[in-house]
Amino acid sequence: MSDLRELYQEVILDHNRRPRNFQKLEGANRTAEGYNPLCGDQITVYLRLEDGVVRGVSFEGSGCAISKASASMMTAALKGKTAAEAATLFKAFHAMVTADLGATFDPLELGKLAAFAGVHEFPIRVKCATLPWHTLRAALAGGQETVSTE
């Protein structure tokens, strides 16, 4: 069970049970859809971007605890961040869950998102954790295509 507790940290279980910002965003000016064909997880990320700053962010969709909690905590972390800061956060998060030793990032800037560090022990679940972030990146880029993890 100890390994499982590494993956399913209390904060992750909490965000899975009660996801934050889990609705359509009124006044969103960017949206993107993400889909993981392997497991059927799907997510829509809504953004309200004003002068390059994330003023509003939310998500809808269905998925496992890891993807849902990842999306929920991502939205919580993004509010007030600039698009450039969001991109940096994406890189740091990605490096952490894939245990990419070549990437340099400041663990402190991840804050609560560090709860996902255990994911790298479960390679099959990395895509669950990163799907919301890939979808966010697509929304920031303004694309309308569905993002796929494949």
Partner: protein
């Protein structure tokens, strides 16, 4: 000659006609002895692929160590031996399915390729604009997409037989769908996502009354219940070797000779020709017309050993044991609060597909894996089934005769832990 016979006919057979001895059978499967995450492996992903008995592993080793050569080519002794082993494998499949003739047994890569062969060869030659092809709602993607591709190319229409809440086809709807425009029916024998055993004999009779040929996808059937293609009177039957204790990359297309004779080749190449000039190629006779290129000889030999092994135990005994095991597993899972079984057909085989309130199938899969239990989580390549039951995915424990009640108890306990973790 003698080596060939030993290889295909004298595989050690476990058990006589006495009570099914699962402990003894398990000893034949070396992979089952291992531990996963420090726990004894409980392998419940048999619908994805089955494990292999030592007899199959030994046969493959012996083939490569002693007989490897190309078939239908060399004049030398090894080529003769390889050819004999290959054709003996075909005879084993013919007996296993009770086909009338070895010419009706075509070696392909798997069930998927068998269906594609029929769609591309028979289908492209006979389906016309406005024709209709019937499939069921519970088909695997491999028995949907090849027909969709054919319909798109020909301007034909794909019709789908709906299913009820238990995951059974609605026969009266099927009867309504059959009409003079219907030109082909393709059905799954046993559903991989639901476990439903379809009433295929009756459905074939209904199609035949309108002179419509029927293909059965037997990928989930052949290792679990006796299949007699002549008793069923199906026109085509496909299955994959690796789901029936055999190697990956080898599968079977059975077709009635009357159909296969008239069908154009699927792929061109060596072995499928009688003579080639730049002006005209004469195609080989059955079954070689459909076997272009060097085939998966080792796969055929290994599949022969696998089917001999299954016959040695007896498909009737396997089916009886698995039915009891399925009933036991159904009781174990039904006792878990918040768990819903997906697929509760009266006629069912070896599949326990389920969802748990508040826990996604993938999380169940990860938690069970930590307990040493291998299941599948996802849409099982049957996305329309998931949509029908309003779930994004299910967790699926799929059983075979080497599974035990103790393993199903372990499954129940591990699910309990998952529920506890997520509560």
């Amino acid at each position: 000659m003698r080596a060939t016979h030993e290889m295909t006919a004298s595989v050690p057979l476990p058990g006589a006609s006495v009570a099914f001895d699962v402990d003894r059978v398990r000893k034949d499967f070396p992979l089952l002895r291992q531990q996963v995450h420090g726990k004894p492996l409980v392998y419940l992903d048999n619908a994805a692929t089955s494990q292999k008995p030592q007899a199959v592993i030994d046969t493959l080793t012996r083939y490569y160590a002693e007989e490897n050569s190309n078939v239908h080519r060399g004049v030398h002794l090894l080529s003769e031996r390889a050819t004999e082993a290959y054709e003996a494998g075909r005879a084993t499949v013919q007996r296993f399915l009770n086909a009338a003739d070895t010419r009706e047994i075509i070696f392909v890569r798997g069930a998927t390729e068998g269906i594609n062969l029929v769609a591309q060869s028979y289908g492209r030659a006979s389906i016309k604009p406005g024709d209709e092809i019937i499939i069921s709602w519970m088909e695997h993607h491999s028995n949907i997409v090849p027909w969709q591709m054919l319909c798109e190319e020909k301007g034909a229409v794909l019709r789908v037989i709906p299913i009820n809440e238990d995951g059974e086809v609605l026969l009266d709807e099927y009867a309504r769908l059959l009409n003079p425009r219907t030109k082909f029916v393709a059905l799954v024998h046993v559903s991989n996502a639901l476990g439903t055993i379809n009433p295929v004999k009756r459905m074939i009779e209904m199609a035949h009354r309108q002179r419509v040929p029927v293909l059965l996808d037997g990928a989930q059937a052949v290792a679990h219940l006796p299949v007699d293609v002549r008793a069923l009177d199906c026109d085509f039957y496909v299955f994959s070797g690796h789901k029936a204790l055999g190697p990956t990359g080898i599968g079977i297309l059975y077709g009635k000779a009357a159909f296969l004779e008239d069908m154009p080749p699927y792929q061109g190449g060596g072995d499928m020709i009688l003579s080639v000039t730049f002006e005209k190629t004469r195609y080989n006779t059955l079954p070689y017309k459909f076997e272009a290129g060097t085939p998966h000889i080792a796969g055929v030999v290994g599949l022969g050993a696998a089917l001999d092994y299954l016959r040695g135990i007896g498909l009737d005994r396997i089916a009886a044991y698995e039915q009891a095991l399925l009933a036991y597993g159904t009781d174990v899972l039904s006792a878990i609060p918040g768990l819903r079984l997906i697929g509760t057909a009266k006629e069912k085989a070896s599949v326990l597909s389920f969802v748990i309130e508040g826990i996604h199938a993938h999380d169940i899969g990860t938690i069970l894996d930590q307990e040493g239990i291998a299941i599948r989580a996802g849409h099982h390549c049957a996305m329309p089934v998931m949509q029908r039951f309003g779930v994004p995915a299910t967790a699926r424990a799929s059983l075979v005769f080497y599974n035990t009640r103790g393993e199903l108890d372990a499954l129940g306990r591990a699910i309990g832990k998952a529920i506890e973790l997520f509560s």
